[in-house]
């Protein structure tokens, strides 16, 4: 009997991807009579996968799929799947999955999983095993390249919740790099809820190639002037504004850390008091300039309390790429299943992955509305921070993408919750579909809208 291992997704150049240059696919076989297991034998590579022969007497086999990336003298094993099968005695029957190994590629033992009995990144059709892989975890490679980034080091000092950050690479194209943050609060629960935050080209995006040199690009870790590095954006997105108590506790360690940084001060993490909710000011030419961009967003607290996994793609400019193609939910689920199967970050017995919530700020409305439009039945919610592209184009915007006014009503009809944040009363035509808020949750809400104004009421705010 012949078995085949092939690629489930034409849009993913799995066997020719620049991150997966070294494949090693083997089968081990055991006959009923001997009870012993023959040594693993490599399968034969073909144009579109691997093939191997199974002896008629074989009743059990283990398929092992490994793929690695070689960078300089370092080898990073990115895929490691071990799947066991029963082989029924009749030649016309198909493989029966028994169980698989859950764990990091570097873990020689792992945790054996029998429920479900098929690895979440495999599909089985007769004796044809397909690899369903859209993402791989490149955390070790990425941090070897960029882990000394001042922003990454600062972020780890400032962390306010227990969470794990993994760096994933999209095999189907840009956005190539995705920062995935798993709060401890949802590492061991069955229901996994993803939230995808899409940043605009002019804030939070970098420019990098879909290639290994693209992953090595210094702008992942080094900011330059008004261009935030990828890790600066992650630091700013996650960090919870510091309370006075945390500020006092962190100050000596943070000051010591900053003294190890070199380079232009404007490109480095700012002094600790800028990471509070208190706005700071920069003296400049006789003026005090509010440092609006320094206050961190604090998403780590939100995802911790609400039990969401945050996925922050590092945008290549405004290129929507796989983000705006149909099949988004499948790809997001695939990324989470990769984390689940290739490590211990997610450790519940089995997981159920919900529809992704999409969030946009400003100019990235174009990508988020287009993605939602092409995935109407698979969106868990929208969070829209003063989104552009709601009703009309601004000068220079891409005219091939979908307006919010076309897709928001469709989502509302499907009972999807849509949240618009910002100055929707002053600018309803800009931030609300056709200027209407019907069915949309708006923030600040009616009781708090005055907070956007000045002066504040005497009661505070």
């Amino acid at each position: 009997m012949q078995i085949r291992v092939s690629n489930a997704n034409r849009a993913v150049p799995l066997f020719k991807h620049f991150l997966l240059t070294r494949w090693h696919v083997t089968i081990e076989q055991r006959t009923a009579a001997s009870g012993g297991t023959a040594p693993a034998e490599p399968m034969t590579q073909t144009n579109d996968g691997f093939t191997g022969m199974v002896d008629d007497s074989t009743r059990w086999l283990r398929l092992a799929v490994r793929a690695s990336c070689v960078v300089g003298s370092a080898t990073y094993e990115l895929i490691h799947i071990k799947q066991d099968f029963n082989v029924p005695p009749r030649a016309d029957t198909t493989l029966e999955p028994l169980g698989w190994k859950k764990g990091a590629p570097s873990d020689p033992i792992g945790l054996y999983k029998g429920i479900p009995n098929l690895h979440p990144l495999l599909a089985l059709n007769g004796n044809n095993v397909t690899l369903d892989i859209h993402f791989v975890d490149v955390t070790d490679l990425y941090l070897d390249l960029h882990g000394r980034s001042p922003w990454f080091l600062a972020m780890n000092v400032l962390r306010g919740t227990d969470r794990t950050i993994r760096i994933m690479a999209s095999l189907g194209g840009h956005p190539l790099i995705w920062y995935v943050t798993v709060p401890a609060s949802c590492a061991g629960i069955p229901k996994v809820k993803p939230a995808v935050l899409v940043m605009p080209a002019d804030y939070g995006a970098i420019f990098y190639d879909n290639s290994l040199p693209g992953i090595r690009t210094s702008t992942h870790g080094k900011s330059a002037g008004s261009l935030q590095s990828g890790l600066e954006t992650l630091c700013w997105t996650l960090t919870e504004p510091l309370t006075d108590e945390r500020y006092n506790a962190l100050l000596p360690r943070y000051v010591a850390l900053r003294k190890t940084f070199s380079g232009p001060a404007d490109d480095l993490p700012q002094p600790l008091h800028h990471f509070r909710g208190v706005l700071t000011y920069q003296p400049s030419s006789g003026k005090l300039v509010p440092q609006y961009w320094d206050v961190p967003m604090g998403v780590e607290r939100a995802i911790h309390d609400e039990k969401y996994i945050l996925m922050l793609p590092v945008m290549n400019g405004g290129e929507g790429g796989v983000l705006i193609q149909p099949g988004l939910r499948k790809r997001i689920s695939n990324a989470i299943n990769f984390l689940y199967s290739h490590g211990t970050t997610l450790h519940y017995e089995s997981i159920d992955i919900g529809k992704p919530v999409l969030s946009t700020f400003s100019q990235s409305g174009d990508n988020v509305f287009t993605s939602a439009d092409r995935n109407r039945d698979d969106i868990g919610g929208l969070v829209l921070f003063e989104p552009q592209y709601m009703n009309e184009h601004l000068p220079g915007e891409d005219r091939n993408l979908t307006f919010g006014k076309a897709v928001v009503p469709e989502l509302l009809r499907r009972s999807v919750k849509v949240v618009v944040v910002g100055r929707y009363r002053e600018r309803p035509r800009k931030y609300l579909p056709d200027g209407q808020a019907d069915g949309i949750l708006t923030l600040p809400d009616a009781a708090n809208y005055h907070l956007l104004a000045y002066p504040l009421p005497t009661s505070g705010g």
Binding site: Y247, V278, L279, V383, V421, A453, Y454
Partner: protein, 108 residues
């Protein structure tokens, strides 16, 4: 965030973090560049006051529309602050709940 937009301008002396920056005797927490910058901020605010500006006038002067990315009225809570702002402040923990947090809670 809302609560603290202007506090550095009008209530700096009561900011414990600034006490740490400007008044700390602990060498481990001294960052001279930061001290110099915040002293300059203090000096400019004092200059506004010597010129007779009230709290309100200082705020209106600093929060002028030129910092507003889309250059329209509303500079007191501009486009970028929307992303980090929130409407709920817990006076016990001194934490405010960001809009993103409120939105995820509403979606469930």
């Amino acid at each position: 965030m809302v609560k603290y937009r202007y506090s550095r301008l009008v209530d700096g002396p009561h900011d414990t973090a600034l006490d740490q920056i400007l008044g700390s005797g602990d060498p481990a927490t001294v960052d001279q560049a930061t001290v110099n910058r915040e002293l300059k901020v203090d000096e400019m605010i004092a200059g506004f006051r010597r010129a007779g500006l009230s709290d309100d006038a200082i705020i209106r002067r600093v929060f002028s529309a030129e910092y507003e990315p889309d250059n329209r009225p509303g500079a007191y809570y501009p486009h970028n602050l929307i992303l980090v702002g929130g409407q709920t402040f817990d006076s016990t923990s001194k934490r405010y709940r960001g809009f993103f947090h409120t939105a995820l809670a509403a979606i469930g």
